[in-house]
């Protein structure tokens, strides 16, 4: 028998074994009770699918596809970036309300993932409590505007600052532990933040959350139908008819601006001694110590800058939703953001950008498939890990170009 044929058997057999209970039985509700029904044909389909996929893989191994260039020359790449930027600028005028909303959400997650990229991608600190700083940012905006009447643009920098300060205070003790331990401690901290937000009824409104977030203004001009400040509203000032989409479009541009700022800052930081020290620390902590690097300080800086970005994004999230509640800041969020950084390739801004877009869009686009959304999600993860185990873009760009 052909040796190749034998490599078929384990996966096919495994599929058969797994799909017997998983696909073979299903439950159906009728008026009285729930029935357990069988559908053995599904088992057959699944097994056949795995068999076919395996044969394709084996054929591909023998006759590989002609490899196409994955890295286009730098000139085209820059043109591509410019095109993308123009496309994003034009997007609000070409698309519907729901598309703008979705694009805003994608940008929000890209910002978050780029923030975590500093902590995790560059400095190598596995921060499973990242969502805590996102929550702190969002709640800071909510609390400052609700109790102290601060406007949105006053809240934004303060949210970032408060999150960064929390990171400094929390980081001092927890950055003493390394690797997996850091991940667990950070995870605990995120849970504490969430539980405090749930239970501190008098301040945060508990599980009901807080609403009435401040709205961003265009240099003081409001986007509402009427203005609460002395200034005219946006549409009156520019003599255009009122459209509730204006605010959405403006928010989209604000978050696009934030993303560009984070992108530029991340790029710049990498070329500074600080950023280089982060990357060196990710590579080898012992060597860093031998080179006279003050590790606690470098770690704290990466941790708090990442947290500060999460805080900023939190403020934008609060105003986008118009509502914050502890439910938005569960561990699922962290897992999602960590997945974006890992799948995109640690440290690669563009890889993370692609992964974030993909991970946010996939569940939205697959809405029609209802039950199979998470299955698709899992499949996508497996494919990336199988074919690009170090992330979509795993090549590290040197910070100094040599001719």
């Amino acid at each position: 028998m052909n040796k190749n044929f034998l490599t078929f058997l384990p996966p096919v057999f495994l599929t058969l074994l797994l799909s017997l209970p998983l696909l073979g039985f299903f439950a159906q509700e009728n008026s009285k009770d729930i029935l357990l029904l069988q559908r053995w044909d599904w088992v057959l389909y699944a097994t056949a699918a795995v068999f076919l996929a395996n044969s394709v893989l084996i054929v591909l191994k023998k006759y590989p596809l002609p490899s196409f260039a994955i890295s286009p020359p730098a000139k085209n790449l820059n043109a591509l970036k410019a095109l993308l930027f123009l496309g994003l600028l034009a997007l609000p005028f070409l698309s519907s309300r729901s598309t703008i909303d979705l694009a805003t959400l994608v940008l929000l997650y890209i910002c978050l993932a780029w923030g975590l990229n500093i902590t995790m991608g560059l400095a190598g600190l596995l921060d499973l409590g990242y969502v805590a700083f996102y929550a702190i940012g969002a709640y800071t905006t909510a609390i400052l505007s609700h109790y102290y009447g601060l406007s949105f643009w006053q809240c934004v920098p303060l949210s970032g600052l408060v999150a960064a300060i929390f990171a400094l205070v929390i980081g001092m003790p927890i950055l003493r532990v390394q690797g997996d331990y850091l991940a667990i401690v950070a995870l605990g901290f995120a849970e504490i933040v969430r539980i405090v937000a749930t239970n501190w009824q008098s301040l945060t409104g508990g599980p009901n959350g807080m609403s009435g977030m401040p709205r961003p203004t265009f240099f003081g001009l409001e986007f509402g139908r009427t203005s609460s400040s002395g200034l005219p509203t946006f549409q009156d000032f520019f003599h255009i008819p009122f459209n509730s989409e204006h605010r959405l479009i403006f928010l989209f541009y604000c978050i696009l601006g934030l993303a560009i700022i984070i992108y530029v800052v991340s790029k710049r930081l990498r070329c500074l001694p600080l950023g280089r020290a982060w990357e060196a620390m990710r590579e080898d902590e012992i060597a860093c110590r031998a080179l006279g690097i003050n590790l606690p300080r470098i770690k704290l800086s990466a941790y708090s800058i990442g947290a500060g970005i999460a805080g900023l994004v939190g403020a934008f999230f609060a105003t986008k939703q118009g509502f914050v509640s502890p439910e938005s800041f569960t561990f699922n969020e962290t897992a999602m953001i960590v997945a974006m950084v890992v799948l995109g390739g640690m440290g690669s801004l563009w890889g993370i950008c692609i992964a974030a877009t993909f991970l946010v869009l996939l569940p939205e686009l697959a809405r029609g498939l209802a039950d199979y959304r998470m299955l698709l999600f899992g499949l996508a993860m497996i494919l990336v890990m199988r074919f690009k185990p170090n992330g979509l873009i795993s090549v590290r760009q040197p910070t100094v170009k040599m001719s």
């Binding site: 060597a287 860093c288 080179l291 040197p398």
Partner: protein
């Protein structure tokens, strides 16, 4: 320059160093030889403050550094090329050297870089190559170069010959001699390769089970029966 007196270091309850005294004067190459597990690496780590000595004092240029944090010790002019080279694998040679220069004054960077490249022309050829893709010998050159970029007064080298071909070892030891003669660099060299290390060094110490059992000039130690029996039997 460096004065270690009556140092003892423990890992938990296990004593790794027992009452070690050692000194290095300016311009000297001092070597510390010993078998696996004798405590050679521990001595260098103790010098850098991790782990800390339980008793005894270490002074560098007259300053007590026994209790200083590691990063401050390095900033005083004590560069450490750690065991196993530990270069940054995903960073380029240039970036690795930049990392070494982090504690040094920026204005010397260009000249220091030029000096490292004259010592190791190979590094210049591969300046944009990732550290992890270098051969063992090239990585060792990079580790030494990186330590030199910190403009140290004292260079601590932990087994630079580890796992390298004899020809490369020869080359690296030749460069060490050059650094010492041209720059007057003081070098503390920890080695298992007793023959090479003792031929190079002005003075040497023999470390056995955390204790110094023998000391003398390089030549004396090369001749000594104890060293011959323990380290040079069958060697060139």
């Amino acid at each position: 320059m460096l004065n270690i007196s009556h140092i003892s270091t423990f890992y938990g309850a296990i004593q790794a160093l027992d009452n070690i005294s050692l000194n290095a004067e300016k311009g000297e190459i001092v070597t510390l030889i010993g078998a696996n597990g004798a405590g050679k690496t521990t001595l260098l780590s103790t010098l850098c403050g991790n782990p800390r000595a339980k008793s005894g004092t270490i002074t560098f240029n007259g300053q007590d550094i026994t209790a200083l944090p590691t990063n401050q010790i390095v900033r005083l002019g004590l560069a450490h090329a750690p065991e196993g080279r530990r270069i940054f694998p995903r960073m380029t040679i240039f970036e690795n050297l930049q990392m070494g220069a982090l504690v040094a004054d920026k204005k010397h960077f260009a000249a220091d870089l030029e000096y490292v490249f004259t010592l190791f022309p190979r590094l210049k050829e591969r300046i944009a190559q990732k550290g992890g893709t270098l051969s063992g010998g090239e990585q060792q050159m990079l580790a030494i170069g990186r330590a030199l970029m910190a403009r140290p007064q004292l260079l601590l080298l932990d087994e630079p010959s580890l796992g390298l071909a004899p020809l490369i070892v020869k080359k690296i030891f030749h460069v060490l001699k050059e650094i010492n003669q041209q720059q007057g660099m003081t070098i503390l060299l920890v080695e298992q390769n007793a023959h090479h290390a003792l031929s190079l060094a002005h003075r040497g110490y023999v470390l056995v089970n955390g204790r110094i059992t023998l000391t003398g000039t390089g030549k004396e130690l090369l001749q000594s029966d104890e060293v011959k029996a323990a380290y040079l039997e069958g060697a060139a």
